[in-house]
Subunit: 218 residues, 2 copies
DNA sequence: CGACGTAAGGTTGGATCCAATATACAGTCG
DNA sequence: CGACTGTATATTGGATCCAACCTTACGTCG
């Protein structure tokens, strides 16, 4: 596996992974010295990577007090999904009017990638492919500012997505829903597409609500 | 004027100001050494500030090639306003259902601040007060993720706002529209509020379109 | 005369070192 | 006994220095 071109990009990837896997727990202060040593790099690229994560809302920064991993409350989670609803609905409507055959082929390829990863039981790859699948649907809208925001919103909830995909029932429902979504996309039916994506998200939210309630009790 | 607590915050403010005033022109490479010397600081806090601006889309970064000021095309401008429409409409609707008397007082105070700055011919203060006015309207919605995104969208178009406010006719229309907006806010009429804000934005877009067309020709 | 390779200079990327601030603990005073 | 203050330590913030990469100009070859 080739290391990214710059160290700070490598550090950024590692930090995202660590936050996702709870290796760095929410509210935990990030000791720059220890993390830098752990990754075998200096503090400078680490600090630049943390600045990026701060702008994305993944960590919070207090001057002279350092960075801590952001805690995502239930309210935050609901807000993030509401914002995804607003932005992705817009993007899918526009995308349906602009997409061509090449876009359909890309989406269909990603659909297969998700299904394949699911069949192989490769959760990490399934999450990555799922992301590519959804972004491939929105990409034809050609709205770079929107895409940037949607990407940030996805990043913040990556940790929860891992939990969601852990349950086999959730995984199979995801695959079924993806099939319907692709059909709407290929039919260029924006309203249908937006509606299906909305249901897709609502199912995830419902499941996550239940999980969070469980965690809070247990 | 007290300097901010950290140097990087100071640098961030200075960079925003420089980009806004076209002191740093779009597509112009940002030579870290010269800018750092100009501000009397080292390159480290400058680089951290640039990372923040990169995440906001104000500058673009190419590894080993450095940062350049982002160019905002007409398509970008229209997209940014479309996204503001989506997000601010949502926020204003929620805000109308949650706001209390204290919020009304805050909004009204900012309304006066804008009018006062306009009367004094203080454009910089007018822009700042206008921003506070609009955010005070959205704040009661209590949606921090949305506010963060809206803030970013405002930041990217600050340069254009300065142009817009330069025309006296635009300024007086802004003040009139603000009056109506406050009335809807105090009446807790979400639909009316959202509609008025939308018109408010559309007027700005129309004026900016005309300005950009002029600039392109001249 | 044009195109490619190469070398030199300049700019960014990263590491180390020093200064400034916050935190924690101990000692003292009310 | 509790609260405050002063000090020591750990951690972050910033400056300087070195390495890696990109760019550009020059020379050479086709």
């Amino acid at each position: 596996m080739p290391r990214p071109p710059t160290t700070q990009q490598f550090v950024l990837d590692e930090l995202r992974r660590a936050i996702l896997s709870r290796e760095l727990a929410p509210n935990q202060p990030i000791r720059q010295d220890s993390v830098a040593h752990e990754l075998g790099v200096s503090r400078v690229p680490l600090r630049e990577a943390l600045k990026t994560l701060e702008a994305e809302g993944q960590v919070v920064y207090r001057p002279h007090r350092g960075y801590t991993v952001a805690e995502l409350s239930l309210a935050d989670l609901l807000e993030v999904y509401r914002l995804r609803e607003l932005l992705e609905t817009e993007a899918s409507l526009v995308s349906a009017t602009k997409a061509d055959e090449r876009d359909s082929a890309t989406v269909r390829a990603e659909l297969r990638a998700v299904a394949e990863a699911a069949a192989n039981g490769d959760l990490v790859e399934m999450i990555a492919a799922n992301r590519r699948f959804h972004f491939a649907i929105l990409e034809p809208a050609d709205m770079p500012w929107l895409m940037r925001m949607v990407r940030t919103l996805w990043d913040t909830t990556d940790a929860y997505r891992a939990v969601y995909y852990n349950a086999p029932a959730n995984r199979s429902r995801v695959l079924e829903e993806h099939e319907a979504i692709v059909r709407a996309f290929e039919a260029r039916d924006g309203a249908e597409l937006a509606g299906l994506l909305q249901q897709h998200r609502e199912h995830a939210v419902a499941a996550l609500r239940a999980t969070l309630a469980d965690t809070a009790n247990g």
